[in-house]
């Protein structure tokens, strides 16, 4: 992979970025500037070449998962372990003192005495921002309800860069749950810094919220909406598939109506661009047919692996050990 001009710039100024990121929380993708995001991606390249280093010796990272997660939690824990750090925390709210009625505030105050960094996922939107304002140590948001998931966004950016060789002037097709899907909201905000054209394909009930469309309009970026997946697939450099998330629906009937609307199959990839790649934040249910897994344009498993390097880059930057 060749370094793009922007990456070269951030590498040259690496010391100043490293200084700036130390002890900073990462709650929303906009908490890091465009240059800081690119710096993280350039560090991720280094970690991909050499992911096992003893940079976190004697450091403790708490992973507090108030909402279940497999890959995000394991990816963070693997990232810390490979760098020689220790992990404390819980993977289920049932095994925390929240079941005894403890407030989030008290949990964060206490845990922040025991560790150098908190990685947290919470079912309430804004929980990570609130935690970052009461915690003694930096917070990395691993997902707060339907709001933000910035480390996923940066691994998506890294995957886009790796597959396209650039982040500039790309056409991104987002498919599925665009209303509740936090990954698409964060990715939209991040990629809007690179003159991206967006295509939104979703059922009417799960369309991209107005606030994000307004955001693009203010930046004078183009976006197109449709309910048919075949309409724009031939235009796209990246097809970003998402799962319709059962846990975000209060009405089970609404979930049943929308869950199987889009299923990406191999034959739909025939007239797509040669450079097009399929991304998915995972877990997948049935929105990508398993036969697509073997297709050269399927990138979602490699994308998940990229998460490890990006999270190593984020953790070491915030802890000031790189």
């Amino acid at each position: 992979m060749y370094l793009c001009y922007a990456f070269e710039c951030v590498k040259n100024a690496a010391n100043s970025f490293a200084m700036n990121l130390k002890n900073r929380s990462l709650v929303s993708i906009t908490d890091f500037s465009k240059e800081e995001q690119l710096y993280i991606l350039s560090l991720a390249q280094d970690f991909e070449k050499n992911p096992v280093r003893n940079l976190l010796e004697n450091r403790v990272v708490a992973t507090l998962f108030f909402e279940p997660s497999t890959r995000t939690r394991l990816s963070f824990e693997s990232a810390v372990s490979r760098l020689g750090g220790k992990i404390i925390g819980f993977s289920d709210v049932a095994s925390s003192s929240m079941t005894k009625g403890e407030t989030l505030k008290d949990t964060i105050k206490i845990v922040s005495n025991y560790c150098d960094l908190i990685v947290m996922r919470h079912y309430l939107e804004g929980a990570a921002r609130y935690a970052s304002e009461i915690s003694l140590v930096p917070i990395v948001n691993a997902g707060d309800g339907a709001n933000q998931h910035p480390t996923q966004t940066m691994l998506d950016m890294y995957s886009i860069y790796k597959t396209q060789g650039t982040l500039d002037n790309l056409k991104i097709l987002m498919v599925g749950d665009l209303k509740y899907g936090r990954t698409v909201h964060s990715l939209l905000m991040a990629m809007s810094q690179f003159n991206t054209t967006f295509y939104f394909v979703s059922p009417k009930e799960l369309m991209m919220p107005e606030e994000y469309k307004l955001y693009l309009e203010k930046l004078k970026l183009s976006y197109y909406e449709h309910t048919d997946l075949n309409e724009y697939i031939g235009e796209a450099d990246i097809v970003y598939m998402t799962r319709v998330q059962k846990e975000r629906f209060s009405d089970p009937l609404e979930y049943e109506k929308t869950k199987n609307v889009y299923i990406l199959r191999s034959e739909m990839l025939k007239n797509t661009k040669p450079n097009m790649r399929i991304l998915h934040p995972l877990p997948r249910v049935n929105e990508i047919d398993v036969e697509v897994d073997e297709h050269e344009k399927a990138y979602y498993f490699a994308q998940a692996q990229n998460g490890l390097y990006v999270r190593q880059a984020i953790i070491t930057s915030i802890l000031g050990v790189i």
């Binding site: 407030t103 939107e125 804004g126 709001n147």
Partner: protein, 146 residues
């Protein structure tokens, strides 16, 4: 209605009639013990109909005044001393709004933990607020005053 002039205090004029009681609530006027007069549906050349409030012996800080900009951006304050208007102040929309509005997102942390709400004003016309915590943007029809 015959309304007596006040000797010293504040007159809040040009309040949209439908938001008179919201202004009273935002400024916590029910806690003030001096004489307060308010009236509504007065004829106004500029607004058609307007409401006004006269508060004896009370002056507000700019921060307090700006809170009412959310519901009465057209309001004007007249500061009265010795029965004379000594200063006229327009309200201006603040950059941040703290503790007076609930977030309309039921899944926002501020609706579950004891957190003082905070919003960033992202648009002035029409006014749009972004929750500092859950980042949802809301317009005036979603404002619920605490």
């Amino acid at each position: 209605m015959q309304v007596n002039a006040i000797r010293e205090g504040t007159v809040i004029d040009h309040i949209p009639p439908q938001n008179l009681f919201k202004v009273i609530s935002i400024l916590n006027l029910h806690k003030i013990t001096t004489q307060i007069t308010f009236g509504t549906n007065f004829d106004s050349q500029r607004m058609g109909k307007k409401a006004l409030i006269k508060i004896e012996g009370v002056f507000f800080t700019q921060e307090e005044i700006n809170k009412i900009a959310l519901v009465a951006p057209s309001a004007k304050l007249n500061l009265i001393k010795n029965y004379e208007v000594v200063q006229k102040l327009p309200v201006s929309i603040p950059d941040k709004v703290s503790g007076i509005i609930k977030c309309y997102n039921p899944n926002c942390v501020t609706n579950h933990e004891k957190v003082t709400t905070l919003f960033h004003v992202v648009e002035n016309h029409p006014i749009m607020l972004k929750c500092h915590f859950c980042e949802k943007v809301m317009t005036e029809e979603h404002f619920i005053f605490i």
